[in-house]
């Protein structure tokens, strides 16, 4: 059994999550790179399905992940562009909330990830003795954006809001 995920706030604009896996980095890498595998572990949230999981994980490539609530059909998702890929070691991508086809969607797309309150996600893999240590750093454009993510998570104690859910879930 691996130690549970550890979340912390290493700077004003970042959230850091660490976890280790009992598998070589080559396999962890595949689980992050291949849509069919990604879906297996990112779509398991009870009450939610993952109808869209498209990924072109090359530098300049784009990805799109969407989740749908079984209960009311509400959707949320993420989209972004791949900035950096070092096989079996590192992936960096932007992450924007994808409002999709919702009636209350904001219309035109924002000019950049920063304008959209998006973030840059960096995932690193480091293998030692057959264990792969994974760090995920979510860097927001500003402190205000990070604060907004933090504050949203606070709503009514344990009641999870969509905004936090998508911010956190989508990095996976």
């Amino acid at each position: 059994m691996m130690k549970p995920a550890e979340a912390s706030l290493p700077s004003d604009t970042e959230v850091l999550v660490k976890r280790s896996f009992d598998a070589p980095a080559t396999l962890v890498w595949r689980a992050y790179m291949e849509p069919d595998l990604m879906r297996r572990w990112c779509a398991g949230l009870p009450g939610w399905s993952m109808p869209v999981c498209e990924m072109d994980m090359r530098v300049g490539g784009r990805y799109r992940w969407r989740w749908r609530s079984d209960e009311n059909g509400q959707e949320f998702g993420f989209t972004g562009e791949v900035l950096e890929v070092t096989p079996h070691a590192k992936i960096v991508h932007t992450q924007l909330v994808d409002v999709g086809d919702q009636a209350d969607s904001k219309g035109s797309a924002p000019a950049s990830w920063a304008d959209a309150g998006g973030s840059i996600v960096t995932v690193t893999l480091h293998e030692a003795n057959g264990i792969t240590h994974v760090t995920t750093t979510i860097k927001y454009a500003s402190k205000a954006d990070r604060d907004a993510a933090v504050e949203t998570g606070m709503t009514d104690g344990m009641e999870m809001s969509y905004t936090q859910l998508d911010r956190v879930l989508g990095e996976m």
Binding site: A5, V15, W41, V150, M154, L165, L169
Partner: protein
């Protein structure tokens, strides 16, 4: 800066975390804390100011001294948030554990062939 964010910043400092741990036991005056931490009074006071504006402690006047008291709800809100974040990620990571052990088995089988 939001209050919750202030709380995170306040707790990023080891001395301030020490003060919080000390106040979790009981109320204390500034001079109690000066004695406990062997720091100067202005240093302790500036740490207390940060903790107070973050809503993590409250202060009240008793005779000549000001007593500092922990605000446990505030501290709880900080730990709750990180716990929530951890829970969501951990849910996914447990599924990833299962997937990886499956992939490992497949790999072993293929090597045996």
């Amino acid at each position: 800066m939001s209050r919750l964010d202030q709380a995170f910043v306040a707790l990023a400092d080891p001395t301030r975390r020490g003060i919080v741990v000390r106040l979790a036991r009981s109320e204390a005056s500034v001079s109690d804390l000066v004695g406990h931490f062997s720091l100067t009074q202005p240093t302790i006071s500036s740490h207390l100011k940060v903790l107070e504006s973050a809503g993590l402690i409250s202060r009240r006047k008793v005779a000549q001294s000001r007593l500092c008291k922990l605000v446990p709800e505030r501290l709880k809100s900080v730990t709750n948030w990180l716990e929530q974040v951890q829970e969501i990620w951990e849910g996914n990571y447990k599924r990833l554990d299962a997937l990886l052990s499956e992939l490992k088995q497949v790999e072993t089988k293929e090597q045996k062939r």
